[in-house]
């Protein structure tokens, strides 16, 4: 009984009410009329990390700050800015951390090389097996 009561209270707690009383920014949840621009903005928003709920992209998050970032991204795309420019601007504020897109930074080279190295290892193993079977 006590658990059910706790669950009920947790459900009506309203954590969103703790954020802000203001309505969302104008372009937070509204699409750009131009479909091409909206596609660009959406693709960028899906690879920008939300600062409030750190495991979500700003496209997925309901946090008010994510809404403000979505609105700002749409406004800047409409003003003619390129998505990679906006990503660069955000990275200059929050670091690589804010972008889900891996960069070509030297520290990430092992990450890029790993698939190639694993593929080479696989081919090597395969070759060993085929050669052995021919011998038999």
């Amino acid at each position: 009984m006590r658990y059910w009561l706790a669950l009920l209270l947790a459900l009506i707690a309203g954590p969103l009410a703790a954020q802000t009383a203001l309505p969302p920014a104008p372009w937070a949840d509204r699409q750009i009329p131009d479909a091409g621009q909206e596609r660009q903005a959406k693709a960028l928003m899906e690879t920008i990390r939300c600062l409030t709920c750190q495991s979500q992209s700003i496209a997925d998050s309901n946090a008010s700050m994510a809404g403000d970032m979505r609105s700002q991204i749409r406004e800047r795309i409409m003003a003619g800015e390129r998505p990679e420019q906006i990503r660069g601007w955000l990275i200059s504020r929050y670091g690589d951390w804010v972008s889900y897109e891996p960069t070509a930074d030297p520290i990430l080279w092992p990450l890029w090389l790993a698939p190639l190295a694993l593929l080479a290892l696989g081919l090597l193993l395969l070759r060993g097996r085929i050669v052995r079977r021919k011998d038999a």
Partner: protein, 175 residues
């Protein structure tokens, strides 16, 4: 040798399970510092957030004397908790300006009436745009701005009572 090799995949698998399990139990609260520390404050002009305090522009923060820039909001609970510490900083001679995030004037007025008003100027950032330009990721945060308008230090989260001497020392060390 062969028996060791046979157990190796299982050992690796268990090592990964251990790694992921450890990750599950670690609190996921990364603190994201602004990359603008050490750089000039981005330019901004904000309207007034409170009825009895003037508006805030970035040029007003480069006064030749270091100042504190507090990022707060009337809807933010830890901001209310840090109010006494801001009051103590002001009493110790710190000049404090503020930016209210996603706020409305009536709410800011009510917040200041209840928790005190240590601010010289308060700008209203209704859509978090200045907050994002500052590389700030939440409320409350407090920046030390040096006399030339550069960001010298960023304090993330509410200022606790034992942070006050540290902030005053940093303020003194900043020019």
């Amino acid at each position: 040798m062969r028996t060791i090799l046979i157990w190796l995949p299982l050992a690796l698998f268990l090592a990964f399970i251990g790694l992921f399990a450890a990750g599950l139990f670690q609190p996921d609260d990364h603190i994201i510092n602004s990359k603008l520390v050490g750089q000039p404050l981005p330019a901004f002009v904000l309207p007034a957030a409170a009825s009895d305090r003037p508006a805030l522009a970035s040029t007003q923060l480069a006064t030749g004397k270091p100042r504190l820039l507090n990022i707060f909001a009337s809807w933010c609970v830890p901001c209310a908790a840090e109010a006494p510490q801001l009051e103590a900083l002001r009493a110790a001679g710190a000049d404090i300006d503020a930016i209210a995030i996603r706020d409305a004037r009536a709410d800011v007025d009510a917040f200041l009436a209840r928790y005190g008003n240590p601010y010289a100027r308060i700008g209203l950032d209704a859509r978090s745009s200045v907050q994002i330009a500052l590389g700030s990721s939440g409320v409350p945060e407090t920046f030390i701005i040096d006399g030339r308008g550069r960001i010298a230090y960023q304090h993330i989260g509410d200022i606790r009572a034992d942070d006050v001497p540290m902030i005053l020392d940093r303020l003194k060390a900043t020019r």
